[in-house]
């Protein structure tokens, strides 16, 4: 554990209603996007969040920042409850929590100059203006590896990696405590990915940031994370210290995920035993009863089909939700 708890998420639930009807909207079903997620992120720590598309990673991020209203549950940031706060009360807190998005082409306003994009948060929060603002923005640009003269350029004049640097400069502008990075490198080429990951690690050290780092690339997550949480169909199925998770995964899903990643080494790749999951992820509209993974799990038994496993601690800080964890 690095520092004090900075972000505590407890039993967070986000359901999206599916409505039907012309005059009277009736709720006919719900998408169980996030279904009872709890975790703690400590100061200076990086928590990696992995899972396949549709498992609720991005919705979880948005619900933490109150960009979508949670259905129930609690999100405490620095000791303060965020769920239920008014927009006005949230505003000063938003300074402390910033987000970096996946798609550097869609997350920057194409009509604004880089100086505005990075400077607007400072101006909106009344932290700088005029010449001081420009100086601060140029410092930030310089810090993320861009040049001061990029101040007057538009986003389309930059490559994907450079745009992601602009996104990072914008996130850093308000000197937040927490940065939620939702797939920050998955749209980039590998050589550029490495640049951005290294930059994120440098600024974490420098500004004392905590990261919630969402990605589907398990190699990238292992590289940046102190702890890793694995999500499947709206639930966290395993949460552990990063090294323990990668060396001895307890949940069959984690096992299968790790085994599915092709290793860039032909001989090792050929030699290792692989678990291939059959089928697709079930629909979050009607998740399977019991353990949500039982439909694809080779170790599933009767109890898995009826009873939902709770997250239970195995080793120090290694929690897993499984009736038959892969121990020993």
């Amino acid at each position: 554990m690095k520092g004090d708890p900075l972000l505590e998420v407890t039993d967070l639930v986000v359901h999206f209603p599916i409505k039907s009807g012309i005059i009277v909207d009736r709720e006919v079903a719900r998408v169980h996007a996030v279904d009872g997620v709890s975790f703690t992120l400590h100061e200076g720590e990086t928590l990696g969040l992995v899972g396949e598309s549709g498992c609720g990673k991005s919705t979880l991020c948005r619900a933490i920042l109150q960009l979508v209203a949670p259905t129930s549950g609690s999100v405490r940031f620095d000791g303060q409850e965020l769920v239920g706060l008014s927009r006005r009360d949230l505003r000063p807190l938003r300074r402390e929590m910033q987000m970096i998005f996946q798609d550097p082409f869609a997350s920057l306003n194409p009509r604004k100059r880089v100086g505005q994009i990075v400077g607007d948060p400072l101006e909106l929060h009344g932290l700088a203006s005029g010449a001081e603002l420009k100086r601060r923005v140029q410092e930030l640009l310089d810090r993320v590896g861009l040049q001061a003269e990029h101040y007057n350029r538009y986003p389309h004049e930059f490559s994907g990696g450079q745009r992601q640097r602009i996104g990072i400069a914008r996130a850093l502008a308000l000197q937040p405590k927490l940065i939620i990075a939702d797939e920050p490198v998955s749209a980039l080429d590998v050589s550029v990915q490495a640049q951005i990951i290294n930059l994120l690690e440098e600024v974490q050290e420098e500004f004392g940031l905590s990261y919630l780092f969402v990605a589907h690339d398990l190699g990238v997550v292992r590289h940046v994370s102190d702890r890793v949480a694995v999500m499947y169909l709206g639930k966290i199925v395993e949460n552990s210290d990063s090294d323990a998770l990668y060396e001895s995964p307890l949940h069959p899903y984690t096992n299968a995920l790790l085994s599915a990643v092709p290793i860039p080494d032909p001989r090792k790749n050929f030699a290792r035993e692989r678990i291939t999951l059959e089928g697709d992820v079930p629909s979050p509209i009607d998740p399977p009863p019991g353990c949500r993974f039982h439909t694809r799990c080779v170790w599933a038994t009767d109890v898995c089909r009826t009873e939902e496993p709770a997250l239970t601690a195995h080793d120090d800080g290694h929690v897993v939700a499984c009736h038959h964890p892969r121990t020993g």
Binding site: V190, N198, E201, V261, P262, I263, P264, T276, L277
Partner: protein, 329 residues
């Protein structure tokens, strides 16, 4: 074994408002029957344009294509459009990255496959449909009798990619060009599709040109690897040589910049500084020199793609001597 596909000095350029983009600049390689050749590179390296040219998709009023692509004694570059149509699908088929945008959303999946069969073969609609069912079954789609009547949106991403592969195989082609076939998929689904491609390659002796940026996928499937950078091939070697004896600094960079699961975590990832060159106005010397930490005065001259190790199957485009490379790597 004589190659089934021979690409010689392929040049593809496009006229744009900003000038002429030299997307592919002198690419030569061969594909043997039953061989999986991976073409690796970053965005803008020319790998996709190369793939699309093989199947005649870059023919356009603003493009200029020179060089040759020899397939069964014919030069595909010279082939008129109507004759190319007989080759495409029949002998060389393609699978694209994004299965959602490559299928027509308003037609049933079975009809789309049947249409393609009927365009090339003189069979009844019912026969073509029953052939579609067999094809869907052969790529591992459960309940194919029912699924042929479904629309593309009723399939998941992985299943859609299986449909695309089934369609590509409909006419029993000799060569399959797969352009980032698993990039849009989750890892567990990617593993399924890679296994399917591997089985097809073995069972049908299908030659595959695999376009990808993921060296993990390469390690899984390829026999030979062609590394592209800035519109040119910078290294061409067997799978083992690329991974265990790479000769080009760009290949080193690619291998080093992956966050790997199979090795201890490094403090920092090796990064390749800077950006790939603009293909509007490519550098005159070595195209990688500006980002290469081993660049020296000779790199202002363009190096040729040659067997510099004395091994005819391992080509690279770097001025360093093999001894210097061994030391720098």
């Amino acid at each position: 074994m004589s190659p089934i596909l021979t690409v010689r000095d392929l040049q593809v350029s496009f006229r744009t408002d900003d000038g002429v983009v030299h997307a592919v600049d002198g690419v030569s390689f061969e594909v043997s029957p039953g061989e999986v050749v991976a073409v690796v590179g970053e965005s803008g390296s020319g790998k996709s344009v190369t793939a699309q040219t093989l199947i005649g998709l870059t023919r356009a009023p603003n493009s200029k294509i020179t060089g040759s692509v020899m397939f069964e004694g014919a030069d595909l570059i010279e082939l008129p459009d109507d004759q190319f149509r007989a080759v495409r699908g029949e002998h060389i088929a393609m699978v694209f990255q994004d299965p959602m945008t490559s299928l027509n959303p308003v037609y049933r999946v079975g009809d789309q496959i049947a249409e393609m069969i009927r365009a090339h073969r003189d069979v009844s609609k019912a026969e073509a449909l029953s052939r579609s069912v067999d094809l869907l079954r052969s790529v591992g789609i459960p309940n194919p009798e029912r699924r042929v009547r479904d629309y593309p949106h009723e399939f998941s991403g992985g299943m859609r990619q299986r449909v695309m592969i089934a369609m590509a195989l409909a006419l029993d082609p000799e060569v399959l060009i797969a352009d980032e076939p698993t990039t849009a998929l989750d890892v567990t689904i990617q593993a399924q599709i890679l296994r399917l491609l591997d089985n097809l390659n073995r069972d049908r002796n299908l030659s595959v040109v695999l376009i990808t940026h993921d060296l993990g996928v390469v390690a899984e499937l390829a026999d030979r690897v062609v590394v592209m950078y800035g519109g040119q091939i910078v290294e061409d070697a067997t799978l083992d040589e690329i991974f265990y004896n790479p000769q080009h600094p760009y290949t080193w960079g690619l291998l080093g910049s992956i966050a790997r699961l199979d090795e201890p975590r490094p403090e920092r990832l090796t990064q390749i500084v800077g950006q790939p060159p603009s293909l509007l106005n490519p550098p005159t010397g070595c195209r990688f020199a500006a980002r290469c930490k081993y660049a020296f005065d000779k790199c202002t001259q363009p190096p040729a793609l040659e067997a510099r190790l004395g091994d005819a199957t391992h080509l690279d485009r770097c001025w360093l001597t093999p001894a210097e490379k061994l030391e720098s790597r």
